[in-house]
């Protein structure tokens, strides 16, 4: 029999419903896997006692016929989500020791639906990064390695802990957040499925804010169907987030396996970026073939303002971050460093608490919002953002149902390989993903092939606003053709 932690979330749900095993047994299997995988550094906090207590309650509800949609399924939570009574730090020293007295809306909905919490998962500090190397808890190691090579690789970022844990079978699924690609890029690096829903689909209440007009929560999973199950529980209107939309949440699982015959899939020529590797080009073509074979129609499209997306993002995101992170001043939470007066106390506290990448982004954000520069940078970027969104509106108006692109410009890289370079080099990781956040659209990353040295590669499908169902249908078509991407060599547990 397959080890319980190797089942997909969908299979585990079935096994629990059939009484083949209990949630306590399933949870114990994950807790053991977590213990054996500490070298990956995916978890910032493990909550085994809480997990077993939640599992026992889930078993009681299953026995009495009151099972919720996620009853008894063990999940991990990115450290950006406030979890009541469990340390939440955004992997920053400035929030060291912060224990929220409240629960984020998204995670509260997971527990409402019966899920079991295994612990908190690491991310880049304040979700600013593409490799999870800027976490105050140290870098997360990907369970994946290049063929015949033991070089430790990054799991991507910022949701690298979530991606590593799901791919290494340390949880049945996990939450992530995505501001510029932080779900889709790590999903692609680890052979997992990740979806960033439409802006407004999930409540941001209780999620530590990075760039409020771009941030969205979404799930990581080992299959498209698993991701559909998780998103249904995470999504929904919340009066506590004025940007969350009041729309019915569909049963996304119903869309998985629906025929994609006749769907029009756009291939944007501007995504064929300079220096893109041959294997990424081939993966993209194979992805188009997979969807064509499933009955979709492939059409060439143009998104003319794509090249402006990254510079726009690196104005808008730091500007919003500099405002959001103003609250970390050593007064209400976190660490305080004493100073000769209150300003000195603020400055010393923030200098000690924020890491270099966060400090960089706060500085850039403060600069572009400062008197005399606001119009030239921030306002200009928001105007360009209108054009980027209009590009998408135009192709959707021409009858395109979804857009197919690579998820990342390369496979996973080694720990330390990019972190010492020019910061802009790391920013280029987001070249295919940031457009989606700037336009507020939904997009899914699905594993679809391997690099020459045996690392998973992902494809991204971008949908119309609030048409996540189309993405699940198309994602399943890719999964049907390409299969799933379980990591084979469990070197970390040897």
């Amino acid at each position: 029999m397959t080890a319980l932690n190797h089942l997909t979330l969908t299979q585990a749900r079935e096994g629990l419903a059939q009484g083949e095993f209990t949630s306590v047994e399933l949870t114990e299997s994950y807790l053991k896997a977590m213990e054996q995988a500490r070298v990956l550094n995916a978890f910032t906090v493990e909550t085994p006692d809480q997990a077993l207590a939640m599992a026992a309650r889930a078993d009681a509800r299953i026995a009495s016929g009151d099972a919720g949609p996620l009853e008894g399924l063990p999940l991990g939570v990115k450290d950006m989500f406030a979890t009541e009574g469990v340390a939440t730090t955004a992997c920053s020293n400035i929030l060291k020791g912060f224990v929220p007295p409240y629960e984020s809306t998204v995670t509260s909905q997971l527990w409402r639906d019966g899920a079991v919490m295994l612990g908190k998962l690491a991310n880049d500090e304040f979700a600013m990064g593409s490799s999870t190397e800027t976490s105050a808890f140290g870098p997360v190691v990907s369970p994946w390695r290049r063929e015949g090579d033991t070089t430790p690789l990054v799991p991507g970022g910022s949701s690298g802990g979530s991606a590593a844990a799901v791919s290494a079978f340390l949880c049945a699924g996990a939450t992530g957040t995505d501001t510029g690609g932080s779900i889709r890029q790590p999903a692609a690096f680890t052979g997992t499925v990740g979806i960033k829903p439409t802006y407004g689909r999930c409540s941001r209440w209780g999620i530590i804010a990075y760039a409020s007009s771009l941030d969205q929560a979404g799930p990581f999973a080992r299959s498209v169907n698993d991701a559909a199950i998780l998103l249904r529980s995470m999504a929904g209107h919340d009066a506590k987030d004025s940007t969350s939309v009041n729309m019915r949440v569909p049963n996304y699982e119903d869309a998985v396996g629906v025929s994609v015959k006749g769907k029009r899939i756009g291939i944007p020529r501007e995504y064929r970026v300079e220096g893109m590797s041959q294997e990424i080009c081939e993966l993209w073509e194979q992805g188009a073939d997979m969807l064509r074979d499933a009955g979709a129609e492939i059409v060439d499209i143009t998104l003319p303002h794509t090249k402006y997306a990254l510079p726009t993002y690196y104005i808008v995101a730091p500007a919003e971050a500099s405002s959001n992170l103003a609250r970390y001043d050593g007064v209400r939470y976190g660490n305080r460093v004493p100073g000769k007066d209150i300003i000195d106390m603020y400055e010393r506290t923030r200098a000690a608490g924020f890491g270099p990448e966060v400090r960089r982004r706060i500085m850039i954000g403060t600069y572009v919002l400062s008197a005399g520069y606001y119009d030239a940078y921030y306002l200009k970027a928001q105007r360009v953002r209108t054009l980027i969104k209009r590009d998408f509106d135009d192709v959707f108006a021409q009858g395109v149902d979804a857009i197919l692109t690579p998820a990342t410009p390369s496979p996973a890289f080694g720990i330390g390989e990019k972190s010492n370079a020019d910061p802009v080099e790391m920013y280029l990781q987001d070249v295919f993903t940031v457009t989606v956040n700037l336009a507020g659209l939904p997009a899914i990353s699905v594993p679809a092939g391997f690099s020459a040295d045996g690392l998973p590669l992902g494809l991204q499908l971008i949908g119309r606003p609030f048409e996540e169902e189309t993405l699940f249908a198309l994602g399943q078509a890719v999964e049907d053709a390409a299969g799933r991407f379980p990591v084979e060599d469990h070197w970390w547990s040897r």
């Binding site: 007064v331 939470y333 209150i342 300003i343 000195d344 403060t366 105007r383 054009l387």
Partner: protein, 95 residues
Amino acid sequence: MSVDLGTVRRVAHLARLAVSEEELPALQGELNAILAFVEQLSAIDVSSIEPMTSVVPLTLPLREDEVTDGHYPDKVLANAPEAESGFFTVPKVVE
């Protein structure tokens, strides 16, 4: 556009970040690299384009102006580095 050391010092102060004189040149280099990168936007004329305010068509909801939450000062203060008699405390501000 590029920033000089004085601007880096001023922005650090605006951002309430203590930066030592030794750290300034490296920070200046990083900021200028990012500013050079975003400079690409100068190639495009957007003066006639409305700036983005919301990616989804949304009217901000209104609700009754009433207290719907609160009455738990202990929870609010539980994470404070320093608190006293139901208040956050800070270094003396008024002489």
